[in-house]
């Protein structure tokens, strides 16, 4: 049986050693569905398989956990993607449970990074994870009836399963979607939910879990405070809430609460056609829409099997790296704001960003919501002139002169600043093993000394041809994250310089004919890019139609928050804000 399995494994898939497959017998088999890869694990042995993968095969990093509702088969499938932090492609394993009574063992004890993602699946699909330390809804509120990513769940203004919808004014009569609100005025609540007695201020279940006593019980008994930082708070970077238990000024426990911006991005994605999702990805991490586009394009292109022309690849990399610079500029500016600087560093940091946005605007038509990439290329070529200058000269001037100068300016004023150093060094320390275990990504992971950068670990686009360093630091504190960002900006500028030197002068920017409704072959694919904030992954399942059957976003901001509480414990209130700033989240991506 193992011989057969070996043959079906997709070429880039690293096969699990025969001995291990044999050890688990029927509990571990290759996924032989058309267009699928990886392994299917039985429910009972899921935890054992994960432990073996982690301990014996070195798959120490659980990147993504998500669910798919195979309604017709009556199954809910939970898909895990694990990596080796030494590099290489993903190992993808799945487990299937019955839709009616879905119970799975929790993997939090093996991979702590599964914490929030399992909660999300619990919230969205109703799958219970046994042994999860804190299994509560995460994105929806307590009074929400149903599990919105299940295929049989319909939104209040449901029109049709898939876009494009039929005309709303057939035969001249306007059909208003308000008139079809399934709930009408009677919003439904879960059975055990009592709306009249529900008060958000005393989320008793949430507060009960907090550790309110200080480090040692024998101390002076001071008043323990539970403070809600957010959802309205100047430094939570959006509508994000940290429930903080304080002993004096010291944090004894911290629970992130999110979902205030949740708009069911993934359900919208399943209603949309493949191409219609492209502008939606802009709205995830709205500071780096270009990179978001790139990740989604990669995932769908993998399914479609199209190639991207050379010039388009260079354009994609140029845009993605400029995005990284502009994102890190914001991140550093906001970090300084969180440190209490009165806007000045932030405003200086974003001066250069404006020029980058000028390029985006001239090329893609929009400064922030770029919607630039397409399956098989990019939407437009560079314009001839930009701000009355030759575009190539403008970009050349930017990446050779102005951006390096701007980065040097930040470095000169901030890196050695006494207050910045005293506030950042030794604060929010995240050791390398924890950083890996909690599935952190991006600068957060690299500042802890793990040289894991997707552009090197599993090169996509043309990154294997480019010369750049993976920036790491070893202490894993706020200061190191800041320094990693400064270094990464320098590397990105270096990449942009190479791109401007080597980009083919002329050439196609799109393969084939632009199509509004692409038909994507059956199968699943996971496309991931190194976004400025960390690994951005798209898990796409196609049933061969024009709409994705499943569209999942592995959002780096969201998963990086898993470790926030851990990092803040024992620090002061002021540090919580700084640590959050050093993670660099965007709520559009956290809440989706």
């Amino acid at each position: 049986m193992s011989e057969e399995e070996r043959n079906v494994v997709a070429p880039e898939q690293v096969p699990v050693a025969d001995s291990i497959v044999a050890r688990f017998g029927n509990a571990l088999r290759t996924d032989d569905r058309d267009g699928y890869e990886g392994y299917v694990v039985s429910v009972e042995s899921l935890k054992d398989v994960a432990t073996v993968l982690r301990d014996e095969l070195g798959y120490d990093y659980l990147s993504s956990v998500t669910g798919v509702d195979y309604f017709d088969e009556g199954k809910i499938e939970v898909v895990y993607h694990a990596y080796q932090t030494s590099g290489g492609p993903a190992l993808n394993f799945k487990v299937q449970v019955d839709r009616e009574n879905p119970i799975l063992p929790s993997l939090v004890s093996v991979y702590p990074g599964a914490d929030f993602q399992e909660r999300e699946i619990f919230d969205m699909y109703g799958v219970s994870f046994e042994g999860h330390p804190n299994l509560r809804r995460i994105l929806m509120w307590d009074g929400f009836a149903g599990h919105p990513l299940r295929k049989d769940w319909q939104e209040a203004y449901f029109e049709e399963e898939n876009k494009p919808f039929d005309s709303r004014w057939p035969g001249g009569d306007v059909k208003r979607s308000e008139a079809e609100n399934r709930f009408g005025k009677n919003v439904s609540y879960p059975d055990e939910f009592d709306i009249d007695n529900w008060a958000p201020e005393d989320d008793s279940s949430l507060y009960a879990g907090l550790n309110k006593s200080g480090s040692n019980g024998k101390k002076l008994k001071t008043d323990s405070l539970v403070v809600n930082m957010g959802p309205q708070h100047p430094s939570t970077h959006g509508v994000f809430r940290m429930v903080v238990a304080l002993d004096g000024e010291t944090i004894t426990d911290l629970q992130p609460v999110m979902g205030y911006l949740h708009r069911n991005h993934e359900k919208i994605g399943e209603r949309n056609t493949f191409l219609q999702n492209m502008p939606y990805t802009d709205r995830l991490d709205y500071l780096s829409s270009m990179s978001n586009n790139l990740g989604y394009s990669l995932a769908v292109e993998k399914l479609m099997g199209v190639d991207v022309p050379e010039r388009a690849e260079y354009l994609r990399v140029l845009m993605a790296e400029l995005t990284r610079v502009s994102n890190h500029m914001w991140a550093i500016g906001f970090l300084l704001n969180d440190l209490g600087a009165f806007q000045t560093p932030a405003l200086y940091a974003i001066r250069a960003r404006e020029l980058i946005l000028d390029i985006f605007e001239a090329t893609a038509g929009s400064r922030m919501m770029c919607n630039y990439m397409r399956f098989g290329g990019v939407a437009r070529d560079l314009p001839d002139t930009l701000r009355d200058e030759n575009t190539v000269d403008f970009i050349g001037d930017l990446v050779n002169e102005r951006l390096p100068a701007a980065i040097d300016e930040l470095d000169r004023f901030l890196t050695g600043n006494e207050i910045v150093r005293s506030r950042c060094i030794g604060v929010g320390v995240l050791p390398a093993d924890k950083a890996i275990a909690y599935s952190t990504a991006g600068p957060l992971l690299r500042a802890s000394g793990v040289p894991y950068d997707l552009r090197r670990a599993e090169p996509y686009s043309i990154y294997d041809r480019l010369d750049f360093e993976v920036c790491t630091r070893s202490n894993g504190d706020v200061y190191d994250r800041y320094v990693v960002r400064i270094d990464e900006m320098r590397e990105s500028v270096k990449i942009c310089q190479q791109v401007m030197r080597e980009i083919p002068e002329e050439g196609e920017i799109f393969t084939g004919k632009p199509q509004y409704n692409v038909r994507v072959p059956k199968g699943e694919s996971y496309g991931r890019v190194e976004n400025p904030k960390g690994e951005l992954g798209y898990y796409v399942v196609s049933k061969g139609k024009t709409n994705p059957y499943r569209y999942h976003v592995r959002a780096p901001s969201f998963i990086n928050l898993t470790v926030l509480g851990e990092m803040c414990k024992g620090h002061k209130v002021a540090d919580a804000v700084v640590i959050l700033g050093s993670i660099d989240i965007v709520l559009g991506e956290v809440d989706r």
Binding site: N216, T222, G416, R421, I425, G426, N475
Partner: protein
């Protein structure tokens, strides 16, 4: 003289009222604030007596420093409200009555022996009375030993507090990392 007397009586009423307010209010924050008012009035008495230095010190030290610390501790401990009035330390009440009686009796005895009429020395008309220089002279010449002894006592108390909390801190917060970083 009469104007001074009127002011004195007014202030005295306020002082007594504030003292009673401190005793009777059930909220510790209000008690502390009444005490601050009391201190302020006492400082004004010193002004009336022609001793601005002592008045200012009274405000700075008692109202400005000690009572702020009192407030700090009350707020930090969240001990604004008396939880069980008259139940905690119930033996204190009779004891307090006895002690007050003793104090009043002693004061009455002294007054009846020496009379109220004249203060022992008419210091108020001495030029240097209560001035910083005069107080310095007294402290550093006449009362040098008690002054230094007191300061040593306070110092040892302070060291004691530091030692006690330092042990606590060492056990609790030992999460520093090495500080020698790139400059």
């Amino acid at each position: 003289m009469t104007a001074e007397l009127i002011i004195f009586v007014l202030l005295a009423v306020i002082a007594v009222a504030a003292a009673l307010g401190m005793l009777l209010s059930s909220n510790a924050i209000y008690s502390a604030l009444f005490l601050v008012v009391n201190f302020g009035v006492v400082a004004t008495f010193y002004l009336l007596l022609g001793a601005p230095f002592i008045a200012m010190v009274q405000v700075t030290v008692y109202a400005g420093a000690i009572m702020v610390l009192f407030l700090f501790v009350i707020m930090l401990l969240g001990a604004e409200r008396l939880r069980h009035p008259n139940q905690v330390l119930s033996w204190q009440q009779p004891l307090a009555v006895v002690l007050v009686m003793a104090l009043l009796g002693f004061a009455g005895y002294v007054v009846s022996m020496q009379g109220l009429a004249s203060p022992p020395v008419d210091v108020a008309n001495t030029v240097s009375y209560g001035s910083p220089a005069a107080i310095g002279e007294l402290l550093f010449r006449e009362y040098l030993f008690p002054f230094e002894a007191t300061s040593l006592l306070l110092l040892s108390a302070m060291v004691g507090v530091v030692v006690l909390t330092a042990v606590d801190a060492r056990r609790g917060v030992s999460r520093g990392v090495s500080r020698d970083r790139r400059s």
